[in-house]
Amino acid sequence: MKQNKSLFPREIVTSALKQSFVKLSPAAMFRNPVMFTVYIVTIVMAFVCVWIASGEKSQGSLAYNLAIFIVLFITVVFANFAEAIAEARGKAQANSLRKTRTDTPAKKVFAVGDIYVGEVKVVPSSQLRKGDVFIAEAGDTIPMDGEIIEGLATIDESAITGESAPVIREAGGDKSSVTGGTKVLSDKIKVRVTTDPGESFLDKMIALVEGASRQKTPNEIALTILLASFTLIFLIVCVTLAPFADYAHTPITIAAFVSLFVCLIPTTIGGLLSAIGIAGMDRALQANVITKSGKAVETAGDLDTLLLDKTGTITIGNRKATHFWPAQGVDEKQFIEACVLASMADETPEGKSILELAGISPHSLAVKDARFVAFTAETRSSGVDLPDNAGSAASAGGPVRIRKGAFDAIRALVMRNGNIFPIDTENKIKEIASNGGTPLAVSRNGEALGVIELQDIIKPGIQERFARLRKMGVKTVMVTGDNPLTAKYIAEKAGVDDFIAEAKPEDKMNYIRKEQQGGKLVAMMGDGTNDAPALAQADVGVAMNSGTQAAREAGNMVDLDNDPTKLIEIVEIGKQLLMTRGTLTTFSIANDVAKYFAIVPALFITSIPALQALNIMHLQSPESAILSAVIFNAIIIPILIPLALRGVAYKPIGASALLRRNLLIYGIGGIIIPFIGIKAIDLVLALFMH
């Protein structure tokens, strides 16, 4: 999926503009208490204008009152626009995902007796229901999310993930899920539909972004309460000002009261609040993460602990052979040949990597009648037996038994044959183990030949990512099946804070429980069915899109890219979301200082000339001062929309430093900017007002 380069493409702006007027219905306005009060006083100003038009003299000129009314109306529209544009962008993002969802033909399998046995009939995908089974062959587009129940296929998921390399999905394992909209490249699979139409993750996400099912998150509720109470405080300020003004023998017009009130209440954050929330989910979507709720994104910002699988996350895939170490007196070429022979039939990634490293095709060795010995838990080794005349150089001079395996297993084998395990190889093995590698000893006919070194390759750049997480306050935990020694080495090298070695599936669960009992919020990523309980237990469970249906159901996010380090981005998105709310609240409240200095002298200057001293901006006239403040209050909303949509940049510099930085920018900035802005608007207004 491509990211939107521009924040405001034309078609989005047009639809958002339309929406900002649609949202003027009282029912829609009522959702936001701050803007709702602005809405009410705008209506009041409309009546005042009518009143003046019908002859009332005490409220100032009609033009001035009309101007105030228009500016207030625009303020409301701007706030609606902020929300509408965030929704429109989210929708656009979702639509590009939904395009993959258009009705595609589905080869539905009917049950016995429905028509006749095993009949496959082409139906539109919209008719598929949960539990239905369909068939997809090379060239078909998968009509619906589902789980493979039979077969294996290569699938092009680029429509969802943007990743062009095809992936393999097969029945039974942890990679049995297929997503609607992806394309089968080869082979044939039978798939059981796992969701009803309109209930897939994507559908849920689209609904969240579109606002229909959007619920306020706990933090948003708390902030709304705070903002509502600020609004009440300023309501008290304005209402009590009336008797105060009576005492000071100063008549105050309704327009002035209304303007003071609107300027003081936190309209900036009130107008942008929902846009910030929507934009946060939109950013998650742009990172190719589908969230089940806005709360999950926020929780991500609070994470303390992150559980990561070693394989595929911290290290590239599986262990790889990195070195052949022949024993003293063994020819290196011969040793490598023996290794290749032993690994010919080894389908494990380690085995394949040995062939890769050797660079010799086993076919070039031209062996015949080789009998492969598979790995068993008892022998803890695997290998090959060659008859006398196998034809290879290695087997010249009699039958050959080559074994490779764990050090102690091979040593026992060697000793059983009455040979001595060479001391230099033994030292080498110890050295490899202590460096976090895995030694594979190799023997031929009961004689030690040498050792193959397997190493985990740590992903480039992963240390920096973990360092960044640590600065955010997130502890990383590596989960691996390795022995503690190897695990420790890799943990240190990759820079994770803790590890679970020789991990069994329930270990993850126990670790999460233990952390949660200590009050911590834990996230984990997983894809297997046996990850599902842990995913459900974790506060943030991110399931791989390639994972099993069980895993995807258990988590509260799905990562379309299957990228285990995606959590780092999600954490940042969560933090950005909260920060944007916090900083804009600060900015909004700080703005009030300047607005007071504009409006309060304007209200009383005629009866208390001494208060001219408070007019530190030297605004032209009481009318222009009030109008400037209201105009500034209105236009600051659209000016801040880009910030609300992009989010305030998160820097992992520690909480106190971050607070200082944001206080400086949005607190001090929030005090200074309106002084400049109001003064500038006043200068412009002076050109029009005589």
Binding site: I233, I236, D246, G473, L578, L611, L659
Partner: protein, 570 residues
Amino acid sequence: MNTELFGVILTFVLSVLLAFPLGRYIARVFKGERTPLDFLNPVERAIYRFCGIDPTKKMNWKEFLKAMLTINALWFVYAFFLFLFQGRLPLNPDGNPSMSPDLSFNTAISFVVNCNLQDYSGESGGTYLTQLFVITFLQFVSAATGIACLMALFNGLKEKTTQNLGNFWALFTKTLTRVLLPIGLIIAILLAFHGTPTSFDGKDTITTLQGDTVQVSRGPAAGMIAIKHLGTNGGGWFGANSTHPLENPDYFTNILEMVAQTLIPVAMLFALGFYINKKKFAYVTFAIMTIGMLILLIPTMVSEIHGNPALARMGIAQPTGAMEGKEVRFGPAASAYWSILTTVISTGSVNAMHDSFMPLSGLMQLLAMMVNAFYGGCGVGILNYYIYIIIAVFIAGLMVGRTPEFMGHKVEAREVKIAALVTLLSAFLIKGGTALACYYFVHHPDIGWAVKPSGWLNNPGYHGFSEMLYQYTSTNANNGSGFEGLADNNVFWNVTGGLIMLLGRFLPIIGPVAIAGLLAQKKYIPESSGTLKVDSLTFGAMTFVVIIILTALSYFPPLALGPIAEYFSL
């Protein structure tokens, strides 16, 4: 002038030097560790046994508040009836009359809530019986109530997760026996030796140098004057409060009374550090509160020492500064310091008339009471500061990208709601009350109350507005000092003032204790590097900014119409 400044600095340094060990002592007392006053254990046990109290019973925040409110309600009834019938009761050598019902109502509330607003004059409006057994008694127990409620907060902060905020009765009793009574005794003795009366005799007559005879009121005053400062109460034995030569005889007693009122509020800060073992948090809070106090104090001292510019323009030299309404034996610097101490700390006693201070000083006194948390009253100052902390934590927490948390507990909608309501309350009470008074003054000047609204204000204009604003600010802050110049002994001021005192006392106690209880119940979250450090100077500054902005935004318009307009008109 330098001597005067030295006196102020000496007083402050002395207060802090005494408060520090006292804070450590208070922490030890409530931790149940050994202290020199452990010989009082049997006394406390006897009190518990007599009252049927189980001091080990744990209380959650609701039970705690219920106990506190019940006993306070009882004290109110007791005080109300004694004031109402005091003229007919014994210990009334001067034959002073009973109080009117509205004055009894106002005065009973005033002392129950530690406000000590006095719409009467002590020497003519009270009797020795009510002065001793109602007023002095309430001065002890209202201060102990505040401290016990603060201890509930400390208990909530101390444990990782707990329902138990401590036993109100035990905390309350220990505050009296271990803190207020012993220290009060020392102060009273010092005062008595410097000339404060301690006899039960009635008025005495002296003959002045001019040969006139003057009736001088007396009474067992020293004890009350000690606790009035130690318990940050502020209500004086005599109407003139600590400007009265018998209530505050000399410069030494002036220092003593200033130290006495600063002592416990500052000591409780240090006690916080020792008790919950977060010393840095306590020191940072102390620093922030001190800075706040200094920001209010310095302009006040400067404007008082410089004198009145209007007089200066007339060519009148003012070598001793602005002396109107001040006592010659104290001078402008010590009076300015006292006026700020008594308003930041919610004591409300005066050693000079606040009505006569420069407009800028009046502004600072008003701001001090509007904030009401730079040290603040006995116990309640820190509770008020805690509300600001909750709001600061919430905004700052969002700003660092984490769900806000304070000392390991998440601050969520319910806590924010309570904190917001408490903040809202002061704005509503102060401005609502002043607005109501303005309304009657302007639109109904001739209502037949004891004093007609048109006769309320001795000074019209901005100063008159300040007088009304000051009255409600003082009642809401439970400060009790008056701007005077306001004829406030009538049904309007007595009733509205009484109600505002009541709400301004108990809601800001219930709120923080409830928040402390709610937070303490929550799961404890260990600190990580993403956690906002609440003991950092940065967070302290954040809290300070929240205090300033909230106060400025809530009160700018009325302040502009009162002291600010007066200042610019001078």
